[in-house]
Symmetry: C2
Subunit: 225 residues, 2 copies
């Protein structure tokens, strides 16, 4: 399968260990920058350290918001996103409120996502659904709401709970959003095979803490040609 | 073992399922109020629904902050706590930043906890350490910092990751904080035996999503006397 850009440009390298500190994040950001990943995805308090290293590069600092459970008040998520952008985040990975979705409050969920989109300014917002916790109908509804609210991507999973991204779910989301939004697959992606399969299923971003290993596999595969 | 108050007054009944909605929280709050639990612990967006039901009762609405990973920026946690208190929370269960702790930034961690204490006003703040992720020395240091920052309780765990509260850890924390703070044991507490053991080890609060079951066991045990 031909890729439309280098594999690294599909990957959001991710470090969300709660004990990670600033030194680890600076060296992770440097490696992400050198690899040319699309983004380096970290927690809010580590955005300043990552953004400093990534400044002027093609790798965006991406901050998680409402992560990983998504059950904060809307203004809290908006404040968190705004702060991350002030600190240098160029992308925001937010977890949507599944309680609102489950109780059928579509308008309130759309307002929540829109509030985060607005406070994120020019930063692209990815709406994380945690699909393993949702029925197919809920996934489809959440896709529509995220797109209507202005999210740039629909993202499958946090990687902290349940099953991560699978082929069928990525295809379901891609079919629903079409060209209206990007699709980010995440959760449990650790090998080149998985990465290529998910791209083939419609993902244009992959979240993984094994980005460097996947790139190394890719280089080995191509040099074996 | 004689308890110094009814068992229900030791228990923070907890509902933190990310798909929980307002109806479930209202009925949970009503049950918590009728049982006379010390608190009913929920996520931020559900505080208004819970607080409405709990108003005027002896059961406090307790909101989680920075939950469950604790890696947000300090002003984000402070904002989240302030908003929860405005919405009716009388207690705040915040997760401390273990990255700061791990990299030896005690003063910054103390400032973080203090910022949450200040924005929580009269609401009691519980500092959640996630002890299963920490070395004994880190637990002791975090206890001191939490007490210095004005936390009302040191709490063991989120219940989402790693092992929950165990006897030895509760005893370690109690010995360190003495009478300077309360100790809340949480994570995996599902039976009366566990509850009594943890109280005997020094806990004066227990976080559990099985509070009603534990109380029922306790009633059965006492009526069998």
């Amino acid at each position: 399968m031909p890729l439309d850009r280098p594999l690294a440009r599909y990957i959001d390298q991710t470090v969300l260990t709660p004990t990670a500190g600033e030194e680890e994040i600076r060296s992770g950001a440097l490696a992400a920058r050198e690899a040319g990943f699309a983004a380096f995805c970290i927690s809010g308090w580590l955005v300043p350290a990552a953004a400093e290293v990534l400044q002027g590069s093609q790798t965006a600092a991406a901050a998680v918001v409402g992560f990983p459970l998504g059950f904060q008040q809307t203004p809290v998520k908006a404040f968190e996103a705004g702060r991350a952008v002030e600190d240098g985040a160029r992308e925001i990975d937010m977890v949507v409120n599944r309680g609102l979705l489950r109780q059928g409050d579509g308008a309130r969920l759309r307002d929540e996502i829109r509030a985060v989109v607005e406070s994120s300014g020019r930063a692209a917002v990815k709406a994380i659904l945690e699909t393993s916790d949702l029925a197919a109908g809920e996934i489809l509804r959440a896709c529509d709401l995220a797109v209507e609210a202005g999210a740039a991507f629909v993202k499958t999973s946090t990687g902290f709970f349940g099953a991560g991204a699978d082929e069928d779910t990525v295809r379901l989301i891609r079919e629903r959003v079409g060209l209206r939004a990007g699709v980010k697959a995440s959760g449990g992606i650790r090998t080149l095979d998985q990465a290529l399969l998910l791209i083939r299923s419609g993902a244009d971003r992959l979240g993984s803490s094994s980005g460097l290993e996947i790139l190394a596999e890719w280089s080995a595969f191509r040099s074996a040609d």
